[in-house]
């Protein structure tokens, strides 16, 4: 297996891990990205903040998860720089399609491995 193939597989596993963690928190209205990063750390799968954001965007675009960005916070103001960039994803929630992917009830996604 080439280095590139290994890296692609690794990234797909990361996305799978994210879905798994969100599944564990499925009964909650949403999970903070900080909690998600912490849970990944505990799995021994540390992901850089940029990578995590990248994976979350992909999963949201495939309708596996729903995301809320910093700008979606009630009362958010652009001049409050310390809160984080407006586009930064702050919360996520597993959607039924993500659950179906995890359960194998929808076509496999080569970008997401469990």
């Amino acid at each position: 297996m080439s280095m590139l193939a290994i890296e692609i597989h690794k990234q797909a596993r990361r996305k799978g891990d994210i879905i798994r963690i969100l599944y564990e928190d499925y009964t909650s209205a949403m999970t903070s990205v900080g909690s998600l990063a912490g849970a990944l750390d505990m799995l021994g799968e540390s992901v850089s903040p940029d990578s995590l954001q990248f994976h979350l965007v992909y999963l949201a675009q495939q309708s596996y998860i729903q995301i809320w960005r910093v700008r979606d916070l009630p009362g958010w103001r652009r001049d409050r720089i310390g809160v984080g960039p407006a586009e930064q994803i702050r919360f996520a929630k597993l959607l039924p399609r993500g659950l179906q992917l995890l359960d194998g009830n929808c076509p496999e996604d080569p970008q997401v491995k469990f």
């Binding site: 909650s28 209205a29 949403m30 903070s32 909690s35 912490g38 009630p74 009362g75 958010w76 103001r77």
Partner: protein, 184 residues
């Protein structure tokens, strides 16, 4: 492991003096001079200037986060369910980072927050119930209107029949009963 900075070598008295000066927004050169005067320790103006910038950025970040949280709480108190859910998620994140964190919280405040979330949930359920009642009333009204139009049509048909000298048959009576929903 964090890189050691020049100011880490200062005594705790010098560091305290430096932080007090930051809070007073004194210029870096004045802070360095004050540290020298109070403790006899020497630190470069540029070093103090860098620490001052970092301290101010951190203060600004804390202030922004505090204000954002106040707005979130205000929205939650104003029955914004999404805000309540975000606060809940952030509380879980804080607990994950500091599992003993709840030990230092005032239990009354914690209970108040959860009661507030419960209140918001109940308000949402009440609204949904009210919406269902309105939907049912609308459906009922629409059915009544439809029945009234059918009754008018049936009456007109009977009037036309009577005017032409025809007798009202059992089938006509059945139709009238049907309009009023009396057929079993």
């Amino acid at each position: 492991m964090p890189r050691e900075r020049k100011t880490d070598q200062l005594s705790s008295a010098a560091r305290q003096a430096m932080l007090a000066c930051f809070a007073q927004h004194l210029p870096a050169s004045m802070i360095a001079a004050k540290i020298k005067a109070e403790t006899g320790e020497t630190v470069a103006d540029r070093t103090v200037g860098r620490r001052k910038s970092e301290w101010e950025a951190e203060q600004q970040r804390r202030q922004a986060n505090r204000e954002q949280m106040e707005d979130l709480v205000a929205a939650a108190r104003g029955s914004d369910l999404k805000a309540s859910e975000m606060i809940e998620a952030l509380a879980r994140e804080a607990l994950m980072r500091d599992p003993d964190g709840f030990g230092s919280l005032n239990p009354i405040d914690v209970q108040r927050t959860s009661l507030q979330a419960e209140k918001v949930r109940l308000a949402r359920e009440k609204l949904e119930l009210q919406k269902r009642i309105v939907d049912l009333d609308e459906a009922k009204f629409s059915r009544m209107k439809q029945r009234e139009e059918q009754a008018i049509d049936a009456t007109r048909a009977l009037e036309r029949k009577a005017a032409s000298g025809q007798a009202i048959s059992p089938d006509d009576l059945r139709k009238i009963r049907e309009v009023y929903g009396l057929n079993t």
